[in-house]
Every structure is written in structure tokens, then in C-alpha cells.
Symmetry: C2
Subunit: 567 residues, 2 copies
């Protein structure tokens, strides 16, 4: 069923009572809310367990943030690893997860490794269910995959990483660069949903829950762009998978640990589940952390729905400098870590001096490292290059950067390029070139970790070079620049749910009939970004578990005679 292109406005999230109004407009055993990387698997798993399933998606099409992603998915101890004889036992994997989730609480001798009991249980559930979930999706043709045997975890060199390569899968038909995995994965899962009889309704914004007298969730009320309300009953359970709150500026500024301008999640990710579940006493958890990524300043400020996070900062003859023209960071850090840099606080100036950094590159990088994949800012001729600034000299480039920044002063706290930017940039490039010539970044250690090489992108071949992430910038222009800040892929916080996806109330009691998976509920990863696909792998695992638990709930009433039984 085609959805409207418009999205209904937000209404009150206060729950409706079952006794209100005239029954349901539609009903199923399981109602899934949201049709992205969490909702599609949740709907499929529920359907395959014999349930009648309605999927309500707020946007005009399925896919959510997953459609924009490369759709790597991190699956510990996956089937191809086992086939290759790569060991990834549970205890080791949990240590890696805990070490990064709560670094300053990590305790190898604690029964929960320093995690809270809830975090520990959910991490175990991820380990135990990611592979079975993945195999089932593949077997049913919903998400055939291929193994990325050489892709490292993002902290592969940590002592706690005992299986540093091999945990990442991608949709089978993704391109060799894998950047279109999301389009492929959403297509195959959507096709399976259509094939297997999931009743998909796009353009439906769920506004509130329907609750019976005993406090169980028995349905939802959704509105469409025409203003009408649709009351959809769930005989067993409702599973929310509505994404995070990247596109809710009010929630961002009041919860996130860093004051980002935005992110590249689907624009429908406005945190709708937060008020909806709060009315039933749900506890919000992990509201401070996000899946972070550098983003181009202009698109972040514009809320551009096409924006991609900068997963890969490509190029060798390329560096980042601050508003004073000084190099301040390892540009090849994994994106989640690189994105933190922008929010270092200066306690004397009372400002974020690195809020906007300037990516600078030369013609060599332009010629050899251009790409329109993975959010790279060095784009090929003919691509969208509105963010690219140019100068024949560093002085000219500084003028272009200063002019662009001036247009954003009202939303950057008056951030200006320093008067000595060009001179400092010249000195920074000289120092960078000296390090690049040696192939050793003594200042920031660029290129010393496998993940940094993984995201280096295409560079001109230089026979015999040991560090492919470094090369001196040319003595002569033209030079190029672009403005970068930190953003989110999506947020990590929301109602607390058990390792079976059951949303709990303020005393940790499951709310009957209410489930959540994906970025709309709290992630047990806390502050960690374990690896590429550490988003979608755990989400698929928990969707699998939530579908099983939801399916096992008693039907609260019999299906009406007229409805089509599950096939």
C-alpha cells in the first residue's frame, strides 16, 4: 500500500483506553511500528512464527536509516567464522564489548565485567542471537549475505579483541565497495515481507498506545497525513522499531553528551517512542550516547535528508586544521571517535574551538581520492560539490573558508577564522609534509591502526610506501577545503527493554504487550562503537528475540472470522 508523501503532525502521546471509541480499524497478532533495519526483521521473524503481522511506517517508504547505510552488520561468532575455524567464544567477545561500553568501569574480574546487570544480559543476548537471526534471514532469502573476512573491528588492536577480523557481514548483492548495502538489504527484506504476507502500511504515524484495563498494550493509534486516525489492534504485542531522535533538535540538545547540529538518520527519526512509552512508566536509558560520525557542516545545518555521515575521510595528501590553521587530530580515526573531537571545551575562552574543522587537500588527492561513497568530501567532477572551497594558494583558500564561515556565524556562536589562519596552515602543512615524507605521524599516529587503513579510501599508488594514509601536500595549488563538524548516525537512547525486547516500567516490570528494538530503545552498548555494523548486527539479534517473545504472548482475544488467517 502506498503511503502519503507527507507525514502527519505529532499529537498527544497519552495512551488511549481500549474501551474508548468503536473498536479497531484493523488488527493482527503482532503490530510492528517502523519499517527500517529493526522493524523489517522484527516483522519477518514474527510472521515466520505464524503470526498475522501489520507493519506501520511513518515515512512514505520502507527502509528508514538502514536504507542510507552500507548495512554492514556485526555478528560475533558467525557461521562463516565457524566455517573458517576462527574462534570467537562468548566470554572473550563479552570482554571486548564491556571494555568499550564502559571503559572506566571495566572490571575483568566482575561477574558482569563492570557492566550493569541489564547491559550484561543484553550484550549476552546479542552474542547468542546475532548469528541464528542472521542465518534465518539468509535461509529465507530475506537477507542473503557475504562475509567480510578481512574487515577489522574498530578496536582490533585492543588486548580484549580476540577475534579482530571476521565478524562483519554485508548483503550479498552489495557492490564491491559495499556502500549500497542498505539499498540492497532493504530491498530483499521488503520483498520477503511482501512475499510472506506482512501487511505493510506506510504513511502511518503512530501517536499513542491503546491499553486495556489491566494495563496491557493491545494496539496503537496512528494518523495519516489526511488527519484521520487509524486504530490498529495487536492481539499479542506491539513491537516498536521507530529509530532514534537525531531529527528532534529539542531532544538532541537536552540529552546528548555532545551538542551536535544533526545527523544522517532518516528524517522521520524524531524520537516518537519516547513520549509514547514514558506515559506507561518506561525508563529512559543510554540517552547520553549516540552513534557518532563527522558530517559536512552545511548539510548538517540544513538538515539535508540526503546527507551521509563521513564514514571515510579519504586521501593521503589531506589534513584537518582548526580555525587557527593548526592540525589538532588524527584524521583517520574511526568515525565515532573522530566525531568527538569537535566538542572539546576550552574552559578559558568558553567555547568549542574545534566545533568546525577545515579539511584541506591538494590536486593529487582530488585526482586520486575522489568518491561519492561513504560520505567523502573529495567528490568526483560533476558530483555535488557545493561544500568544496577552492584557492590557488593557502591565502586564497583562507579567504574562501572565511567567507563561508561568515555565513554561519549566527548558528556557530560567532565562530570566525583567525587572522593568522593562512600562515598557521602553511606551517601545519610544512610539519605534516615532513611527517608524511617519513611515513610516520609522530604528532597524531595516523595510519597506525588497521581501521585507519580500512577507511583510507583510494589513494595514488606509491611503490614501497609503508603508510598509505600519508603523503605530502603539493608545494603549489590549487588547494581545496571543506567544513566539517561532528554529528550522529542516530542516537542510542530510549526506553529500557529486556534482552527479549520487553519494555519495562519504572520498577523493571515488563509492560505486557510492549516491545522495542533498534535505536528507539536503549542500547546496551553504552558509549561503544565496537565495529562496523555494531548498529545493525545487534539490532537484528534483538529483533529476533523480541519476535520470539512477542509471538509467545497469549492472544488477548480471538482473531475475527473475517480476517485472512496467516498463510
Amino acid at each position: 500500500m502506498a503511503g502519503s508523501t507527507d507525514v502527519a503532525a505529532r499529537e498527544s502521546a497519552a495512551p488511549a483506553r481500549r474501551g474508548d471509541g468503536a473498536g479497531f480499524d484493523a488488527q493482527a497478532d503482532v503490530v510492528v511500528v517502523g519499517g527500517g533495519g529493526g522493524g523489517l526483521p522484527a516483522a519477518l521473524f514474527s510472521r515466520w512464527l505464524g503470526n498475522q503481522v501489520i507493519l506501520l511506517e511513518k515515512a512514505a517508504e520502507l527502509g528508514g536509516t538502514a536504507r542510507k547505510a552500507a548495512f554492514w552488520y556485526w555478528v560475533p561468532n558467525n557461521e562463516p567464522m565457524r566455517a573458517l575455524g576462527i574462534q570467537d567464544p562468548e566470554d572473550d567477545c563479552l570482554r571486548y564489548m564491556a571494555r568499550l561500553a564502559r571503559p572506566h568501569r571495566y572490571d575483568p574480574d566482575s561477574p558482569t565485567l563492570g557492566l550493569s546487570q541489564w547491559e550484561y544480559e543484553v550484550c549476552r543476548a546479542i552474542y547468542q542471537s546475532a548469528s541464528p537471526a542472521t542465518e534465518l534471514l539468509a535461509q529465507r532469502g530475506a537477507l542473503p549475505y557475504r562475509h567480510c573476512a578481512a574487515v577489522p573491528d574498530y578496536w582490533a588492536e585492543l588486548a580484549e579483541d580476540k577475534a579482530p577480523q571476521g565478524r562483519v557481514l554485508v548483503p550479498e548483492d552489495a557492490s564491491p565497495t559495499m556502500s549500497d548495502g542498505g539499498v540492497v538489504g532493504v530491498r530483499t527484506m521488503s520483498a520477503a515481507a511482501a512475499r510472506d504476507g506482512v501487511d505493510v502500511r506506510t504513511g502511518h504515524r503512530v501517536q499513542r498506545l491503546v491499553v486495556d484495563d489491566g494495563g496491557a498494550v493491545v494496539g496503537v493509534e496512528a494518523s495519516t497525513a489526511d488527519g484521520s486516525t487509524h486504530r490498529v489492534g495487536a492481539r499479542k504485542a506491539v513491537i516498536f522499531a521507530t529509530g532514534g531522535f537525531t531529527h528532534n533538535p529539542e531532544l538532541r540538545r537536552n540529552f546528548l553528551n555532545l551538542p551536535v547540529y544533526g545527523g544522517c538518520a532518516a528524517t522521520s527519526n524524531e524520537g516518537d517512542f519516547i513520549p509514547i512509552a514514558s506515559y506507561l512508566g518506561a525508563q529512559l536509558r543510554n540517552m547520553n550516547y549516540a552513534w557518532m560520525c563527522p558530517v559536512p557542516l552545511e548539510k548538517a545545518l540544513a538538515g539535508d535528508p540526503s546527507m551521509s555521515g563521513m564514514f571515510s575521510v579519504a586521501g593521503d595528501s589531506m589534513l584537518f586544521v582548526d580555525k587557527r590553521g593548526r592540525r589538532v587530530v588524527n584524521e583517520k580515526l574511526p568515525y565515532n571517535e573522530l566525531a568527538q573531537t569537535f566538542f572539546r571545551w576550552d574552559p578559558l575562552a568558553g567555547e568549542y574551538p574545534y566545533l568546525v574543522l577545515v579539511q584541506v587537500w591538494d590536486q593529487r588527492a582530488q585526482d586520486h581520492s575522489a568518491s561519492d561513497e561513504y560520505g567523502r568530501l573529495i567528490v568526483p567532477p560533476g558530483g555535488d560539490d557545493a561544500h568544496v572551497l577552492r584557492g590557488g594558494t593557502f591565502q586564497e583558500l583562507a579567504g574562501a573558508v572565511a567567507g563561508r564561515l561568515a555565513g554561519y556565524e549566527r548558528v556557530t556562536g560567532g565562530l570566525k577564522l583567525a587572522d593568522d589562519f593562512a600562515a598557521n596552515l602553511q606551517a601545519s602543512v610544512a610539519r605534516f609534509n615532513e611527517l608524511a615524507a617519513k611515513g610516520v605521524d609522530e604528532d597524531f599516529h595516523r595510519g597506525e591502526r588497521s581501521v585507519q587503513v580500512l577507511f583510507n579510501g583510494n589513494v595514488r599508488e606509491e611503490p614501497g610506501r609503508v603508510n598509505p594514509t600519508l603523503w605530502p601536500l603539493a608545494e603549489e595549488g590549487p588547494y581545496y577545503a571543506a567544513l566539517v563538524t561532528g554529528g550522529t548516525l542516530d542516537t542510542k537512547g530510549g526506553p529500557k527493554a529486556t534482552s527479549d525486547g520487553q519494555v519495562v516500567d519504572d520498577l523493571d516490570r515488563p509492560i505486557p504487550g510492549l516491545y522495542g528494538v533498534g535505536n528507539c530503545v536503549a542500547s546496551a552498548s553504552a558509549q561503544a562503537y565496537w565495529a562496523g555494523g555494531a548498529t545493525l548486527g545487534p539490532i537484528i539479534a534483538l529483533a529476533y528475540r523480541a519476535a520470539q517473545a512477542a509471538s509467545a504472548e497469549p492472544a488477548r482475544w480471538a482473531a475475527p472470522q473475517a480476517s485472512t488467517p496467516p498463510g
Copy 2:
């Protein structure tokens, strides 16, 4: 009425319906929940407007966090300023507030200065009501004050601070050092409450609201340590003033922007209002920021109720070093800023390298800068010095520090002193001594702001010295050390309330009969710590406004005949 020394356990926060049970055990026009720096003024202001008032306090005694504070209160454009002819117009003051609340959003040309509409309105309310509230408390003898004409704001040198001195008041009978202001202020307000007929009931933990069929809040249910439930009706309104969530580790780790170990708020500050209000659709705001302060590691980890934040890091021949023995921060930064330092993330090591810093001082500082006030770690002979480590040489001192840290490895992510700590400390002291001899801290600019001098504490007089914050450490021991981390005074987040203290639902509609003031509701200060007393000044202003609005609500039923009318 004396309270129990025990606190009742938490129960479900799901609201009760008025129809439930057998009416109220007690009732008043206004019920105030919490008897600290927000609740005492709210109760007094409500009472003085002619209302019958019941005040329910969870702890065994009144005072909350305010009792532990110096009780400076920041009152823009206060009466003594006006008497002295110090100009502090509203527009200027709001610019200072906005510049620091949202530094990267500050826009001098925006109607709201870059704040959200809500933040702007609450900041205006603070400006407009802090002085009238203060004067009324003084006139009624509840909180006589004296003016701290020389105390600067914490960002006095910012261009936006047009009244950098004079906004701070303290309770009149506080000692010359003002550190006992909280004890004095709580005593005078408690006495006024008793004198004027506020019905104070300690040992009462409010568990949930009582709501009528129309959705209005008409009372609360509180439990006492004996397990009994007390249903207290509010004919006009309930005003919460229950403090932040410093002592709820689960909330701390899931909301705060920095992973602190604890703080020095009253131990009863466990965030009780969060689940209570969430059930009515309240929106949580400013959950990421806290009033920050360095704290001694041992007491923070122990949750010691006697712990004071380190408002003043005293001494001249004193420095902080990291686990490698390197100086990394200006030790005299105002406490809110200094506390951020501990949580700088190392994106290659995957750790917080400054999670614990080591304060080091010599015999000179011990002899001349010891004090048991303002959380200082250099304590006089006979004081509580369990946190003080000693060594005749830096090598010996390193051994003592390493030993102490070893006992905390399981809760610090395995943090260890580096093997070269003593050597690096020696070099850091040599560098520090060189700068101190010059009186200019070229590395971290210690002593260059008025607030840094304000908190310098007592130091040995050195005639002709221009920078009293610096003096070389002695060439010979003994040396002393203590372990420091970052913590909170209390948190800043909670339900969103209007500039009249009305808690709003998910669509910004006031919830009838429900008010909140103080650290239990969202602070519009966002990330700012404007000045000493930027906690209590605004709280008193908003308590005044909430009491006025609550008093103006219609009584939802008539007072019973038997009850004593307001005097």
C-alpha cells in the same frame, strides 16, 4: 514533627486515582515535596500568600543539599547593587546568561539570543524575580542576607558580563569565609516555616501523585520507613522540590554527559520526581548537564554523605598531574570547568587518561594553605586526612600514590600510575617552578582571571608578588598528594516546567496542579555555571513564581471544617 532516620524504599510511581481508597489522611491548599533550597522558599512563599501548606521531606531533617552548601545566591540586579548604583539591566544580563548556556548557539541578534523559547523565558523569569523573592525572604526574616560586593561572576572577563561583580548574596549570619551559609540559611528558613505555620513532616518519601478524573494533580502518596502509606491531598497544587539524581547511579550513567562517580548532593537526591512525573507525560529536559565540581576520589567512590565538592583548590606551591606525572590543567579553573578535565577521551587508548589526577603540594602549602572549608584537600592537623598521601621524596610519594590507586583498579577501569610517574613529576615540578618564579603560567594561564584568585585560599604572604596563585615547590620534601576526580554538586535535569514552575506534558500543556522548582526540574541554564550561587539564586526566584501561580489555582474542593484555617 520528627522524622524517621530511615528512608522508605522506592515503590511504583504509577499515579493513584482520586477515587481509589478512602480519601486523604491529611490535606492542605499547597503540598510542597522536599525541604531544601527550593522547597523551603516554596513553602514559605505559598504560606505567606495565605495558603495552608504541608511540607513533606524524605530525609530525617530539613535542608537537603542547601544545608551542605555555602549558600551563595546569585541575584541579578539585586537591591544592594541598585543602592550602590551598579547597573545590571535585563538585556545585558540575559546576554551573559545565553552566551554561557548555549555557547555554540549564542546569537546576539536573535530574539531569544540563540536559546530555545523556553530557556529564554525561564532566564527572563530568573532575572525578574530573583530580587523580589530575595527581598521578601529578607523582609520576613526568613533569609536575611549580606551583599558580597567584591565577589566576581565565574566568567567576569567575558565581554558579555556587564556587571561582573555584585550579584552574589549570602545569609547574613554566615561566617567571614561564608562557608557555613547553608547551615545558617536552612536554620533561618526552617525557623520561619515553624513560626508561620508550615506543617513540616520529615521522613515522608513521596512515591506517586494522586490524580483526579480530569487529569489534575490533587495530592500525593508518601510512605514512611514503617511501610505505611500517607495520602496527602492538595486542594490547589503540589510543588516538587526534591533535588536532582546525583545519588542514583543508574540515572547518572544513562543521562549525564560525563561519567562521574558521584557528587556531594544530599544523599536523598535520587531523582524520585523523574518516574513520578513521566507517568503524566512530562518531558525530561537538560538531562545531560550537571553542576560540576572536582571531588576527592575516595569519598566519591564511597558515596560518603559528608563529602564536599572541591570549590576551592587552595595553595600556591601546589599542582595537579596525571597518571604519567605530567601537568595537564589550570588547577585554579572555576570548579565547574575544572571538573570537565577528568573526562577527556583518548581515542587511541580507549580510556579517560585524566580520570584521576593527583594533587601534589609541599610543606609550605601544608603550613599556609590548610583549611577544612570549601572541600579543600590540604587539611589542618587533626582534620580528616584519610585522603592525604605522603613521601619524603617524589619517588616515595609515587609509591604511596601507586599503592592507593591499586586499591581502586576494579572501579577505575584498571587505572595505574605509569612507571615513569616520579621522573615525569620531577620534570613537571621543575617546569612549574620555573613558571612560578616568573609569576606567569605560560602553559595553563593560572591566576589570570579574577575567579581563580577568588578561590586561591590562604597562601603565605610574599611581598611584591603579582600572581598569588603560583609559588615554586620546595626542593626538599616532605611532599603530599591526594587523588581527585570530577563529580557533581547535583544534576540539572528533570521535567520541563514553565517560567511559573508549571510542569508541562508532552505537548507543552501545563499539567493542572503540578509544579516543580530546583534541581528536580530542568534548569534553563543548560551548560552554564554563571557564578557562585547560580544554583540557589534562580531556584529562589522560581520558587517565588511557582508559589504565586500555585496559590492562584482554584481550590478543587473546600477545606474540611475541622482543619485549622491559615493564620
